[in-house]
């Protein structure tokens, strides 16, 4: 890997960041340790020297100068002592002590003096520092008491060496730790990267493996997988629509083309040409209607509409649709009754819900024989849940958000009904039952209702009305779950799937 690319990797940057932080903290800790030890030791030196001076002062006061000479001589004869003594006459020539000559440095204002010792005591040829305090006694005698700092400096030297070794170790350990930690993280990200790359090459069924730890990366993997599921479902839906269009628009298009072709083949008069053109326009209109229905279904299934959801009052919506169809039903000798209980409100798209109800009523009118009856029922959530019927504020503007119960929209007719074995199939596109082939329609009505139901997180139930068909849209009490609409549409041969299982959350 070229250096530039290596530098760009998050692994390296994270490792360096880790190392930097680690190194800084260790350096700060060591510095504090060094400083406090240093302070303690120099304080110790001074205390020792001061104690020594107190002892000598006592001797001097009791026994005078000779006593002091004695004590200094005896004390300085102790081997390996790090205390320095020197007693001189007025001429600074040594009388007693373990220092060979009076230091040349001038004392600092506090009476303390720093100097180098050059004598080869203990076979140490290196000059080393000493720190001492000086007094002038009566008769211009001079006394120096101090401490050889050699041991202290050796200790400092050791400490600095130890600190240097620690820092080197820190760099090694920190670097290693940084690389390990960031590699561990980046490896998991790398797995996600590799998976997405494979998906990009067209392997849409690939999924990011999950570790099951539930941490952020696992959540990311989970979210990616959910997104992929949705994309796959969308693509499946698209493929299904395309196939449906290809399959079911081709037939009428071929019919239309043949009609025109045959008309051209034979000699005709103007009226029959006009007739053919009229028929062709009629056929084209039916094609366009089918096309529009397919687009409505696709729109409901696309899931793009969730941001356009608004509260829809089901009772008013049903009343409008029933009113629209009442004259038609009457003309066919059917009666429609609308019963409403509660004030059900759902979050959704009014136009699509109206269209769905329109399709249901259209079907009911189409298939119910004269003299029959159609019931449209709108049931409010509170009553459906068997609660104490507190409507009003609780069934207010939150649509499906109120707790308990579900809003229902029911269309029941006294027609022939749908045999149980067929109930799943009728929801699929273009499926028409045998006896319905003679009546107009494109076989998309219930598919649209199904798509609209799923968009709104509602279940579509087909039941027996004894006699007749009872279709219920049961809205989810929690409102539509957000990606509801992008469920894969019922596969063409998924006859085994129960209609009740079309819960969008599932």
């Amino acid at each position: 890997m070229p250096l530039v690319r290596l530098w760009r990797t998050t692994t390296l940057r994270l490792a360096l960041l880790y190392l930097g932080l680690f190194l800084t903290s260790v350096a700060v800790i060591l510095a504090v340790l060094y400083w406090s030890t240093q302070t303690f030791l120099s304080h110790q030196t001074r205390t020792t020297v001061e104690a020594e001076i107190n002892g000598l002062e006592e001797q001097y006061r009791q026994r005078g100068l000779p006593g002091l000479v004695d004590v200094v001589a005896s004390r300085s004869s102790v081997r390996h002592t790090s205390t320095i003594y020197l007693l001189t006459g007025p001429d600074y020539l040594p009388l007693a002590g373990n220092l060979s000559a009076w230091p040349t440095n001038a004392p600092a204002p506090g009476g303390w003096i720093d100097f180098d010792i050059n004598d080869n005591r203990d076979n140490d040829r290196h000059p080393h520092h000493a720190n001492a305090t000086v007094f002038t006694l009566a008769g211009n005698f001079h006394l120096l008491v101090g401490r050889d700092l050699r041991e202290l400096e050796q200790f400092q030297q050791r400490m600095i060496e130890a600190m240097a070794v620690s820092l080197v170790l820190t760099i090694g350990l920190g670097g290693l730790g940084g690389v390990l930690i960031s590699r561990r993280m980046m490896q998991r990200i790398e797995v996600i990267n590799r998976t997405t790359q494979r998906i990009r090459t067209g392997l849409l069924q690939e999924r990011v493996p999950m570790s099951g730890s539930g941490d952020e990366l696992d959540q990311l993997a989970g979210n990616l997988n959910t997104m992929l599921d949705q994309i796959e479902a969308l693509m499946a839906g698209m493929r299904h629509v395309t196939e449906s269009i290809a399959h079911d628009l081709r037939t009428p298009l071929t019919r239309l083309r043949s009609r025109l072709e045959i008309t051209l083949l034979a000699e005709h008069d103007l009226t029959s040409y006009r007739q053919t053109l009229q028929d062709t326009i009629g056929e084209a209109d039916r094609l366009l209607a089918t096309f529009a229905a397919l687009l409505s279904i696709a729109e409901a299934e696309s899931g793009r509409l969730h941001n356009r959801f608004e509260p829809v009052a089901l009772a008013g919506l049903a009343q409008d649709v029933v009113e629209l169809y009442e004259p038609l039903a009457e003309e066919k000798g059917l009666s429609i009754t609308l019963t409403t209980s509660g004030e059900p409100q759902v979050m959704g798209i009014g136009q699509l819900l109206s269209q769905a109800l329109t399709n249901l009523l259209d079907n009911a009118i189409k298939y119910t024989p004269a003299g029959g009856h159609i019931d449209v029922e709108v049931v409010g959530p509170a009553i459906a849940a068997g609660e104490n019927g507190h409507h009003g504020p609780f069934t207010g503007h939150n649509g499906g958000d109120h707790a308990g119960g579900m809003a229902r929209l029911i269309v029941a007719d006294s027609g022939p009904g749908i045999p149980e074995a067929w109930r799943d199939r009728v929801l699929q596109r273009f499926v028409r039952l045998e006896w319905s082939r003679s009546s107009p329609g494109n076989g998309l009505g219930l598919s649209l209702v199904d798509a609209v139901a799923r968009l709104h997180g509602a279940r579509l139930l087909l039941e027996d009305n004894n006699p007749g068909l009872r279709i219920a849209l049961v809205f989810n009490e929690n409102g539509p779950s957000s990606p509801a609409g992008i469920q894969a549409p019922a596969a063409p041969f998924a006859g085994a799937a129960a209609v009740e299982d079309m819960d969008p959350a599932g």
Partner: protein
């Protein structure tokens, strides 16, 4: 009426121009947004028919520009995009009506004529008269030849729409959109039954019918 068609599909435009001319209108055609904007800005038209997707400048921004420049010529959008969203966006940009492709020419013609004859009336209308049929919008009452006629609320709105566009062909889709506010076509022609009922009340007891069926298009109310 003088109509400008801004449409990049030359064949579709040619059919449209031919149809509109045969219906007695004067038609200009611009093949892209740039020419369209120039023509619409420099000449007076009664209606603009604007395709939403155009080379040069898209239809939405073209209309937005015209409106910003104070041009209030009625605009009918044509679009292959027919979803709820697209429709709302078109109307918000300043369009007056929206027709999704593919459309029936009769539908286009009816809408264009309604748009072109839309009166910029001064003050609210309180009375509508067509022949001996009169509608009082304040007391919500209808009389024909002095005899009061009882209408249901929806029938009243249906008749009101027909009377407001008296002399124009009104399609079933237009009625569904304006009277019922439904932007989809039901599988069965429910509108026909409603119009038949209205006819019973308006025309049955009188010698001259006012509501006429226009074959392949819709209805027309005229004296």
């Amino acid at each position: 009426m003088k109509i400008l068609v801004i449409e990049d599909d030359n064949q579709a435009a040619a059919y449209m121009v031919k149809g509109l001319k045969e219906s007695g209108h004067v038609v200009d055609h611009a093949p892209d947004g740039k020419d369209g904007l120039f023509l619409a800005g420099s000449e007076h038209y009664d209606v603009l028919i604007v395709d939403r997707m155009l080379p040069g400048r898209d239809g939405l921004s073209l209309v937005e520009l015209l409106r910003a420049a104070g041009n209030h010529t009625p605009v009918l959008f044509l679009s292959a995009l027919g979803s709820v969203d697209d429709r709302v966006r078109g109307l918000r940009a300043g369009g007056d009506d929206y027709l999704t492709k593919p459309y029936a020419f009769a539908e286009l013609l009816a809408r264009v004529e309604v748009l072109g004859r839309r009166q910029t009336s001064s003050g609210p209308v309180t009375r509508l008269d067509v022949g001996d049929l009169e509608m009082d919008l304040l007391s919500r009452s209808v009389r024909r030849a002095g005899k009061p006629i009882d209408l249901l609320p929806r029938e009243f709105r249906l008749l009101e729409y027909l009377m407001r566009h008296a002399g124009n062909v009104v399609t079933r889709t237009m009625l569904l959109e304006s009277v019922w506010d439904y932007h989809f076509d039901p599988q069965t022609n429910v509108i026909d039954v409603h119009v038949a009922r209205l006819r019973q009340k308006i025309d049955r007891d009188f010698p001259t019918p006012l509501i006429h069926t226009v074959r392949g298009a819709g209805y027309c109310l005229r004296a």
